[in-house]
């Protein structure tokens, strides 16, 4: 029996959730909205009418296009390196027994738990000590370092759910270790790898704190926005931010759909498929 109290509770809960979601999404909505603002002057804070002109000329602001390109390139390399390295770390952690395995298992968490400011400052100190010129490469190293943990955790989870007898069966049928890796292990890991790649890309492309410490003269998209904010953020920033948002969200949903489909087909339980896989 639904009592009046029940109904009120349901109603209150619903309203509360709606408010929470509004609170979360209002800033994002404003960013998207103001990419269409026909602003006058340097500032883009008050709504002055609809226009598509910023979308037609996204590269009109000096340096913004370059910063975006740098960010994309760093995110791409970060993803490739972190996924390749992280997959082998995960394989080593799950499939083999070696000295230091337990320690490594714990240590991969550390960069995720460390506050970014600490990480950035530490990396800066380290690069200075090593006499490395700060720039593209140091940002890349830093990004690989703190995305690696996410990759290891994502891939490890999928590996642990895999029946080890499947790889033994491949060996039983005459496949050496390399063939087994290529034909069996990696294909079965694919959904995990995709999730890990997406995560690395998303983390890298919007990183500010660590990049700020390690970038030197190199300007990434978040660094550009930060620098521009003092004189007024050009609407083109909103355009790029919106584009990134749309692309990342689309990729996440595509990945989710793909994981679900793969899970159905293979009968492998994907635990409560989440876009970011953790």
């Amino acid at each position: 029996m639904r009592t009046t109290a029940d109904r009120i509770r349901t109603w209150l809960l619903g309203t509360w959730s709606l408010l929470a979601i509004l609170f979360l999404f209002a800033p994002i909505f404003v960013i998207v909205l103001f990419s269409f603002n026909d602003n006058q002057g340097r500032f883009n804070f008050t709504w002055q009418g609809f226009t598509l002109k910023h979308w037609k000329e996204p590269f009109a602001v000096a340096g913004l296009g370059e910063a975006m390109g740098t960010s994309l390139l760093i995110a791409l390399f970060t993803t490739l390196i972190a996924v390749a390295l992280g997959t082998f770390v995960a394989l080593a952690l799950v499939r083999y027994r070696w000295r230091g395995r337990g320690a490594t298992n714990g240590l991969v968490f550390l960069p995720l738990a460390t506050p970014e400011v600490v990480l950035g400052a530490a990396l800066l100190g380290w690069f200075l000590t090593m006499g490395l010129v700060r720039g593209f490469v140091t940002v890349l190293i830093a990004h690989v370092m703190f995305t690696l943990g996410y990759v290891v955790i994502t891939v490890r989870a999928r590996l642990e759910g895999m029946d080890t007898h499947i790889e033994e069966a491949a060996a039983d049928l005459g496949a050496g270790q390399v063939t087994t890796l290529w034909k069996i292990t990696l294909p079965l890991l694919a959904p995990g790898l995709a999730a890990a790649a997406l995560l690395s890309f998303a983390i890298s492309i919007d990183d500010f704190v660590v990049s700020n410490f390690t970038a030197g003269q190199t300007v990434t998209f978040p660094l550009f926005v930060y620098g521009a904010a003092r004189q007024g953020v050009p609407p083109q920033v909103n355009v790029f931010a919106t584009a990134i948002l749309v692309i990342v969200v689309c990729l996440m949903f595509a990945n989710l759909a793909w994981q679900r489909r793969a899970a159905r087909k293979e009968g492998i339980p994907v635990p409560e498929a989440q876009p970011l896989g953790i």
């Binding site: 029946d163 060996a171 049928l173 005459g174 063939t179 034909k183 293979e266």
Partner: protein, 371 residues
């Protein structure tokens, strides 16, 4: 015995302090259906994994067709395994699963297709060639695993409780099918199971394993009729075991005296060594009961033990009695409910349990643990 296909010598596997397989010697004959039977945890899987190359022996050697393969990795051994979990490749179709081994051997494409088709036909899965294994029932997956292994025409096929995950009816059906396939293709099958009935119906030869060792090797009827250890006597069916002293060993039949004083005859060939303290046994269905409230029993050459019934359970085809003997033993007696055997003996009746002396066996005395 035919030429040995797989020879295990002094094979030992330790996991830390745990001895899973203990100095095991075994010859598995070529072309037969060989079963390894034992309770869960006795080391069957570990033994099979050492034959397949998935587990490295702590000591001892594995020989396949006369070649020492102890240090040969799994993917270079000419044996194939049907895993208990089937371990099918979930991202490949049934046909791709079956083709996998042939591709690794670089068999030409035309021949590959033909052999895959033959293998699928052998296990009656031709129609399902393009399905994914995960869309199939347990029994069908089992057949895919079998086809995937057999298509390679290995020297020997290793099966680790292949029917363990299936329900009883399907299991019976696949038992028959496996036997048929083995007879058809003549490859050595090494079938691991904890189900004594399965081992007895399917295998030509059975090795009974216990605590990492082979207790006894023989055909189903040898193991059943003349078990050599108490473990075998109780793991395969039920047995009555009676401690006794040897009185004489002359001729074909030896004479022993049970602890209760009954004089019994035993085939001399089954008595171990020259011990005087022995433990003899007889199967419950070999025993017969005779009420003796009127005078002494009619012996006519049978072994006789006197006692009284403490329990009688009617189970349809037979009645199962428990007889408490004068020597203090408990005997299980299964009597067929035929016309000349009305089930009219109740608890408390004094009876003579009688049996044909030639059906008596003897087990090692020092081993007292039964299953």
């Amino acid at each position: 015995m035919a030429e040995a296909d797989i020879t295990l010598s002094g094979l030992t596997k330790q996991f830390g302090d745990m001895v899973a397989v203990d100095d095991l010697d075994l010859e598995i004959p070529k072309g037969g259906f060989f079963a390894m039977l034992g309770p869960s945890g006795c080391g069957k899987t570990t033994t099979l994994r050492m034959i397949g190359g998935f587990e490295e022996p702590t000591a001892g050697t594995v020989n396949l067709a006369g070649t020492d393969v102890t240090n040969v990795p799994a993917h270079k051994r000419d044996v194939n395994t049907v895993f208990q979990s089937y371990a099918l490749f979930p991202h490949m179709t049934v046909a791709e699963n079956v083709e996998f081994g042939l591709k690794r051997k670089k068999v030409p494409k035309a021949e590959r297709k033909q052999r895959v088709a033959e293998a699928l036909e052998l296990v009656q899965l031709t129609e399902l060639a393009n399905r994914r294994p995960t869309q199939m029932s347990g029994g069908q997956q089992q057949r895919v695993a079998l086809a995937r292994a057999l298509v390679n025409r290995p020297q020997a096929l290793l099966l680790d409780e292949p029917l363990g995950a299936l329900d009883l009816k399907l299991r019976k059906q696949l038992q028959l099918e496996l036997s048929r396939i083995q007879a058809d293709i003549g490859i050595t099958f090494v079938h691991v199971t904890h189900d004594q009935e399965e081992a007895m119906t399917m295998a030509d030869q059975i090795a009974v394993m216990n605590e990492g060792r082979i207790e006894q090797l023989g055909t189903a009827s040898e193991l059943y009729d003349t078990p050599k250890t108490a473990f075998v006597a109780n793991f395969l069916g039920t047995s009555n075991l009676i401690d006794a002293k040897v009185l004489s060993r002359s001729g074909e039949m030896a004479e022993v005296e049970a602890d209760g004083g009954a004089r019994l005859r035993v085939p001399a060939s089954v008595l171990p060594g020259s011990d005087t303290e022995v433990r003899i046994g007889v199967r419950p269905e070999k025993l017969d009961l005779e009420a003796i409230d009127d005078g002494s029993p009619s012996a006519n050459g049978d072994n006789v033990i006197l006692g009284h019934i403490t329990d009688a359970a009617f189970v349809g085809v037979s009645t199962q009695y428990v007889v408490h003997t004068e020597g203090g033993d408990e005997l299980q007696v299964f009597v067929q409910n035929s016309a000349d055997h009305p089930p009219n003996l109740g608890p408390g009746r004094r009876v003579a349990a009688t049996w044909d002396p030639t059906t008596t066996f003897a087990v090692n005395r020092e081993e007292s643990d039964g299953a």
